[in-house]
């Protein structure tokens, strides 16, 4: 299974194997990685699975389409940056093996 590294706001790193087709959000929640709340359970209907994608991986994860539901929800997140994504919208593939994401200071 492809591995994802989640780095908490305080710097603590968690390496987790995330099954193909599962989301980066699911990988965190199912392995009790703190810092991702995922209140809506993956419907892209809140912004509480917000992560910053490591810049080296942005080409592969891509960014939300302008005007999409994800872009809209992210625009209300507490501390969004140009590399922000909702992790429920990043589906795991082989190309993403080794992905690094960082958590924001808080989920809102």
């Amino acid at each position: 299974m492809p591995e994802v590294t989640y780095i908490e706001f305080n710097g603590t790193a968690h390496r987790v194997d995330v099954p193909h087709g599962s989301s980066v959000m699911r990988g965190a929640v199912d392995n009790n990685v703190p810092g991702i709340d995922a209140d809506c359970g993956g419907e892209c209907a809140c912004a509480t699975c917000h992560v910053y994608v490591d810049p080296a991986w942005l080409d592969k994860t891509g960014l939300p389409e302008p005007g999409s539901q994800e872009a809209s929800m992210l625009s209300f997140a507490a501390v969004a940056e140009p590399n922000s994504r909702l992790s429920c919208q990043i589906k795991m593939t082989d190309a993403l093996a080794g992905l690094i994401v960082r958590m924001p200071e808080g989920q809102h």
């Binding site: 209140d39 892209c44 809140c46 209300f76 501390v79 808080g106």
Partner: protein, 417 residues
């Protein structure tokens, strides 16, 4: 329950002809008899059309996943006051109190972004000590061995202090904020309604607006500070608002910060008294407080419904919805949907995935103050447990006559001496 109920509501809910089933009747919530009516709809007609009601014809969406779909699809289902707004009762024409909760993008987005920093988790971390000090003060001042109303002595006291802080309003006058909030959100047909007509309500709203406007103008002339009024007075998207727009957005903060968390503060005490083994579990495992807070917010569901208006022909759960039709999403029912939430009528403090509830709504209108609500509730329960308070509910709660706010007016309790 406010009146003795002779009627068997389960039998009644299941025997009514479906097309006469109207879950908008405020008495269902006043008398606390709503569960079987929504249960029947979830089972037999989850997207339900009521052809005639005091609010006109409307659709009821009662299942969790259907409600999420309506919320996410804000392009098809509008919140705008132009179509009647967010309550089953249309916003009164000419007397609207429009704010971003009653707007669609792009206007909604600009206003919401401007103010969201006031209650984001980074700002809130700085408020924790203040909230704890006040919670300690309120809990330490409670009588022992005698009956008192938890709503007044704790829930209203704490949330009104919080409101005064958010507005940087003189705390000695916090009761004014509560009276205003109750006036603005009440059902004018409620037995205890402080106003009896939309005109009287609007007049009171304008008095509030003029009063707060003086504070707004003062803050506009001072450097930007951290309170909501200062942030609005200095914000690019908000600093040129008209008096009516100021009224709208300040009322949104007023009601949103008041009659919601208040009812979770009361609902938690009520719920844990109904499920004493859960209260015991929580006392023995204070690590469960965060989870219990989410569960209390779900179990209480402080906001009963939101309303949208279809702007084009479409469908929900296979039912055709026509442009212009009123669509009511019943959070109180979605939070009892057994397909998504196991044993939904029970308050279970160590539930799996307790954060997956719909009390805060979803999509672009999701509750802005949810983190502040959770923070206040977490601190309240930490301090109750630290004191090992044995809170006994000694009589039935009295609920508000409202189909919008699931509000507890009175909750008589006693704390062991």
């Amino acid at each position: 329950m406010n009146t003795p109920i002779e009627l068997d509501h389960r039998a009644n809910a299941y025997s009514l002809p479906l097309d006469t089933l109207d879950v908008s009747d405020p008495r269902l919530f006043y008398d606390d008899v709503w569960p079987p009516y929504f249960e029947r709809l979830r089972r037999e007609d989850p997207v339900h059309f009521t052809p005639a009601s005091p609010y006109g014809p409307y659709w009821s969406v009662t299942k969790y996943r259907d409600i999420v779909q309506v919320e996410v699809n804000h392009k098809a289902f509008s919140s705008s006051d132009d179509f009647g707004g967010i309550m089953i009762n249309d916003a009164p024409k000419g007397m609207e109190r429009t704010s971003f909760i009653r707007m669609d993008p792009p206007e909604h987005d600009e206003q919401r972004r401007e103010v969201s920093s006031t209650v984001n988790p980074i700002t809130l971390a700085k408020m924790e000590d203040l909230i704890r000090d006040r919670t300690n003060m309120v809990l330490d001042g409670l009588p022992r061995g005698q009956t008192f109303n938890w709503v007044e002595r704790v829930s209203i006291e704490l949330t009104s202090m919080m409101l005064a802080t958010l507005f940087d309003y003189p705390i000695e006058h916090k009761a004014r904020l509560i009276r205003w909030s109750d006036t603005f959100i009440c059902d004018i047909n409620a037995p205890d309604a402080p106003v009896r007509s939309e005109e009287a309500r609007f007049a009171e709203q304008m008095r509030f607006a003029e009063h707060m406007n003086e504070i707004w103008e003062e803050r506009a002339n001072k450097p930007k500070s951290f309170d909501v009024i200062s942030i609005l007075a200095h914000g690019e998207a908000t600093n040129r608002m008209t008096l009516r727009q100021r009224m709208g957005i300040l009322i949104l903060f007023l009601v949103g910060g008041n009659d919601t968390t208040r009812n979770s503060m009361s609902g938690g005490v009520l719920g844990l008294s109904r499920f004493p083994e859960q209260f015991r579990k929580l006392r023995e495992n204070p690590d469960l407080i965060a989870s219990a807070v989410s569960e209390i917010v779900r179990w209480q569901t402080p906001v009963i419904h939101m309303r949208r208006t279809a702007v084009a022909d479409g469908e929900i759960g296979g039912k055709p919805i026509k442009a212009g039709e009123k669509v009511v999403i019943w959070y109180i029912s979605g939070n009892r949907d057994e397909e998504v939430i196991e044993r939904p009528d029970e308050l279970i403090v160590d539930r799996k995935r307790p954060r997956e509830h719909m009390s805060f709504g979803f999509g672009i209108h999701r509750c802005l103050g949810n983190r502040l609500a959770e923070l206040q509730l977490r601190i309240l329960w930490e301090e109750i447990l630290r004191r090992d308070l044995e809170i006994e509910v000694v009589d039935r709660p009295v609920y508000a006559y409202s189909n919008f706010l699931h509000a507890i007016r009175s909750l008589p309790v006693r704390i062991a001496a």
